[in-house]
């Protein structure tokens, strides 16, 4: 809008009334009105002459990448006001977002579970009666012991949601239960990107690290503050201006400093609307874009030969008959976790000596390309094989596959390769949740290696949703006796439905099922076969419907004790003070664990208080970057203290990679049996143009991440529901084809199941897609639910990947009709 009276929806009073947002305020009312008044558990606060008011400092989420610390005002024992915590020395960290502010209501949500509940109807019927804690704990103990007796101790599976995994670490060891294992989300691209780069191990002049860089979650990027050094930012399937609200400034600052930002997304996202350019792409074809870009880089000779020779495995020799990398024959190395790893003793062709030598010997001058004979074996360099493999991926092919004009792909490739400092930022909501994500991450890794856009100011690759982390110090842990150990699961949680396993009792902490498992009908079938199902949660979520026993826990703002948590992220250590006392009969995660420990006679092995636990995490830390931080100093600094290295910008892989060779390894020998040692383009499982299933189910069903929710949290927050009620959105083309109008109820369906809710027309949605926000609770739609529709396909090769299979939630086809 150039002026207030632009022709597009000028700001007349009439257009104000028409514009979205104006009427939205009224929407949340229905849900809210009956809440506290009806229950009468809170007497409306009249104006007190002298209300008792105090301030408490608490970080918000334990796991969210925003890492906000909040200054909370409490009046007469109630949470009244939330602001960013000013205690951060660097103002860039004094943040909060719309979700944190909405906690003023959300803490008192109508969906809060007010007391322990026991199932009275059939499992899944969601009929419960309130019981006392004494009775609830008695039932819990009896049911667990029954399962132990019948099947053994390992028959119990503890499955936490992402948030709960950080706050209930003692539960599985107390029960000796299975827990952990592969999570199935947020590592689709990272599986290959991190494989190529290895665990980030810092640099000699950099004391701090980001401990999750290289673990498989794509958190390889430089920290967000470094974005300002980028000249060119290619954002692919990464709507970070919605999904990382409190980091939006870094992105906008980079743009103001002169970075060109190009956003590739099927939909006209908020990020797309703020980028210098939006490039729409066919869903699930990001790999074709990367392969096409690589072809351009190769054909135009835009690759960084020096970087490829010094920092990557491009010159490594491959035996073309066996497909194996040539090595010097060193035995495998055993790493800290006892796993066997290649020694990294790969061979290159030394042009000076005219023979194969180890890549890391002094004075070697490796050949980048070419074919050689080593001990009678025909060999080629990795770069040679990539060049050959790329012949299948012409610019025209890439254009046809992605729907992006060839000239645009060429322009993007040239800009990316020649800007001087380019970053590719990927997200967790795009191609990451399609079945071909690992191949996509692999294609991306090769493009990065060719151009050398990694480990430099403004140049990096990775998930910016999480990679913003910067440094994260290692806190110490509470030592548990050897008798108190959780068990690594025999199969991952999502496989419990399909693979042989001995699990007969399932304890969910938070709604891990709705967050992390697709194809809900199959999950229901499995849940109905169990002996005991327990839910530990704050709210009546989708999963609590299936529980036999529900144990209510507090929100992050409530605690029995003065201090309730600690975390170390984004260059800081954060402490969480109690903001308010526990509401209703809920117990803090800490206290619930202690009471369960008491039940099973192991209470003495655990911290006597939450404060003792927090202190132990600080005192047992060996991380020198937080040696200056004590419990007392954290309290004094309002719950916020910087790591000693915080003032420098964290960058990963500055002078070495974490792979066995310490170079970026692009040739995945372990994927040889699956034909993916180098990326071979592969369609998605369902969402591809020529799929015959399209005749029946022509539309992609996609759940995107939004500014209003964190995974499945906050669907019960009336202050957020002012702006967004659960619904799906479609383009006018697809709506017209089906005779639909905004506000209609629709039935979205496929062979797996259905969802009924309202539809709104939105031109920002790509034609051919039905778009909604991730993991809407089933109770908030008319019938069915989002996860009844979703695809849970897995490749055979998935188990070989760093973090195992990614659940392809968005690789889902559906049809829509008026309900």
């Amino acid at each position: 809008m150039s002026t207030a009276n632009s022709s597009q929806g000028g700001l007349t009073r009439r257009s104000f009334l028409k514009a979205a947002g104006v009427t939205a305020g009224a929407v949340g009312l229905a849900g809210a009105a009956g809440m506290t008044s009806a229950d009468g558990w809170l007497t409306p606060a009249k104006a007190h002459a002298e209300p008792e008011e105090r301030v408490a400092y608490a970080y918000h989420q334990q796991h969210c990448g925003g890492h906000c610390s909040l200054k909370c005002t409490v009046r007469d024992g109630r949470l009244c006001l939330i602001e960013p915590n000013d205690a951060f020395e660097d103002p860039a960290y004094r943040t909060c977002c719309v979700k944190a502010l909405s906690e003023v209501q959300h803490v008192y949500s109508a969906e809060r579970i007010q007391s322990p509940m026991k199932r009275v109807g059939e499992r899944g019927e969601a009929r419960f009666e309130a019981i006392s804690w004494d009775e609830a704990l008695k039932i819990f103990k009896a049911e667990i012991e029954k399962v132990w007796e019948k099947y053994g101790r390992e028959a119990v599976f503890v499955h936490p949601s992402t948030e709960a995994s950080k706050t209930l670490p003692f539960l599985a060891p107390i029960l000796g239960a299975q827990t952990g294992g592969r999570g199935g989300i947020d590592m689709g691209l990272g599986n290959s990107l991190d494989e190529a780069c290895g665990l980030s191990i810092g640099t000699t002049d950099q004391p701090g690290e980001c401990t999750s860089a290289g673990t498989g979650y794509g958190r390889l990027s430089n920290e967000a503050r470094d974005l300002v050094n980028a000249k060119y930012i290619l954002n692919v399937g990464n709507n970070n201006l919605e999904t990382s609200l409190v980091h939006s400034s870094f992105f906008l600052n980079a743009q103001e400093a002169g970075a060109k930002i190009v956003d590739v997304d099927p939909h006209f996202s908020t990020t797309a609307s703020k980028a210098d350019e939006w490039v729409p792409i066919e869903p699930g074809t990001d790999a074709a874009l990367y392969l096409g870009m690589t072809t351009v880089v190769l054909e135009k000779g835009l690759y960084d030969e020096d970087f490829m020779l010094r920092r990557t495995g491009m010159p490594f020799l491959v035996d073309v008959t066996t497909g194996r990398l040539l090595t010097a024959g060193e035995p495998p190395v055993i790493d800290k976790s006892g796993k066997e790893k290649p020694a990294g003793d790969y061979l290159v062709w030394d042009q000076l000596e005219g023979r194969a030598v180890r890549h890391d010997v002094d004075g070697v001058k490796p050949a980048l390309s070419g074919a050689y004979v080593v001990a009678d074996a025909k060999c080629k360099t990795v770069f040679e094989l990539i060049s050959e493999s790329q012949k299948s991926y012409s610019l025209e092919w890439a254009s046809k596959t992605t729907g992006i004009p060839a000239a645009k792909i060429e322009e993007i490739a040239v800009d990316y390769a020649t800007s001087g400092a380019s970053s590719i930022c990927v997200g967790y909501g795009g191609n990451d949740k399609m079945s071909n994500a690992d191949m996509t991450g692999h294609a991306l890794a090769i493009l990065v290696a060719l151009t050398g856009n990694i480990g430099k100011p403004g140049a990096c690759v990775g998930s910016y949703a999480e990679g913003y982390y910067g440094y994260d110090a290692s806190l110490g842990s509470w030592p548990l006796p050897s008798t108190m150990k959780s068990v690594a699961p025999s199969v991952a949680a999502y496989d419990l439905r399909y693979k042989e396993n001995g699990v007969h009792a399932y304890v969910a902490c938070g709604d891990a099922v709705h967050q992390k498992i697709a194809n809900l009908s199959e999950t229901e079938r499995w849940l109905s076969s169990l002996d005991f199902v327990c839910a530990i949660d704050m709210c009546f979520s989708t999963f609590t419907d299936y529980a036999d026993l529900i144990l209510p826990v507090t929100t992050k703002f409530e605690s029995e004790e003065a201090y309730s948590g600690i975390k170390a992220v984004a260059g800081h250590v954060l402490l969480r003070e109690r903001v308010i006392d526990p509401l209703f009969e809920s117990k803090s995660d800490y206290l619930l664990q202690m009471e369960i420990a008491e039940l099973f006679g192991v209470r003495d092995a655990l911290p006597k208080s939450c404060e003792e636990w927090i202190r132990a995490q600080l005192e047992n830390s060996k991380d020198e970057t937080i040696a200056h931080i004590t419990f007392e100093s954290l309290v004094e600094h309002h719950g916020v203290q910087a790591q000693s290295c915080q003032s420098s910008y964290r960058r990963a892989y500055v002078d070495r990679f974490g792979t066995p060779s310490r170079k970026m390894e692009l040739y995945f020998e372990k994927m040889l049996p699956y034909g993916q040692a180098l990326p071979v383009y592969e369609d998605c499982s369902e969402v591809y143009a020529k799929n015959e299933l399209r005749a029946k189910y022509p539309l992609q069903f996609v759940q995107i991440k939004s500014k209003f929710r964190i995974h499945n949290q906050f669907y019960d927050a009336s202050w957020l529901n002012q702006f967004n009620q659960p619904h799906v959105e479609m383009n006018s083309i697809d709506m017209a084809d089906r005779g639909l109008a905004s506000g209609d109820y629709v039935r979205i369906y496929n062979d797996r199941g259905h969802l009924e809710c309202s539809v709104l027309q939105n031109e920002a949605v790509r034609p051919g897609c039905v778009r909604t926000y991730s993991s809407i609770w089933n109770k908030f739609v008319r019938s069915g639910g989002v996860q009844y529709l979703t695809n849970d396909f897995m490749h055979e090769r998935c188990d070989k990947l760093l973090q195992g299979p990614n659940i392809p939630f968005n690789d889902t086809l559906v049809e829509v009709r008026k309900a």
Partner: protein, 205 residues
Amino acid sequence: MTKYGMVINLHRCIGCHTCANACKMQNNVPMGMLWNRVITEGSDVIDGAVGTYPNLSRTYIPIACQHCENPACQRVCPTGATYKDDKGRVQIDYDKCIGCRMCMAACPYNARVFNWEDPVRDPDFNYGDAAVPVRGKGVMEKCTMCKERTDRGDEPMCVRCCPSEARTFGDLDDPNSEVSRLIREKSAYVLLPEQGTRPQVHYFN
């Protein structure tokens, strides 16, 4: 003299509604009402777009009371409840408001909200700043430019909480203030200038 005003950088506005809830929270605004809203211009749906795929554009516009120099609301108020205060803000004296809603009809920015019934709060207690007066049924209300905060020398809550740093608050009478500088250097404009209301909230792209 002091004349408080605000400048909003629309390119930096990411439509997150944090300002809307910051305002709601600070000022104890009941359910069904917002003093400060973020509209998606020309769209029937939040986060919609103008145009036909893929030729699309989107502009978010946060709108609250524009604290006009020549307020249309003030001119029509029969009781003097609406007034310009000594810091250039438009205020409502709730005790004088008779609920006639003339101001609501007169405001070209649709910035005012009315308590048709007893206010419903969720949660059902008075949240926000203790210094903010509680309004009842039959009373008009709107953005005060966080009078209680700005009187203490703090920024309005929407400015404090905006995650993308799109908002700047300050004294328009001070030529050296950040708001005055932005208005000069960014060719900032006001909404509906033809109304002659002379808003003290300025926007630039």
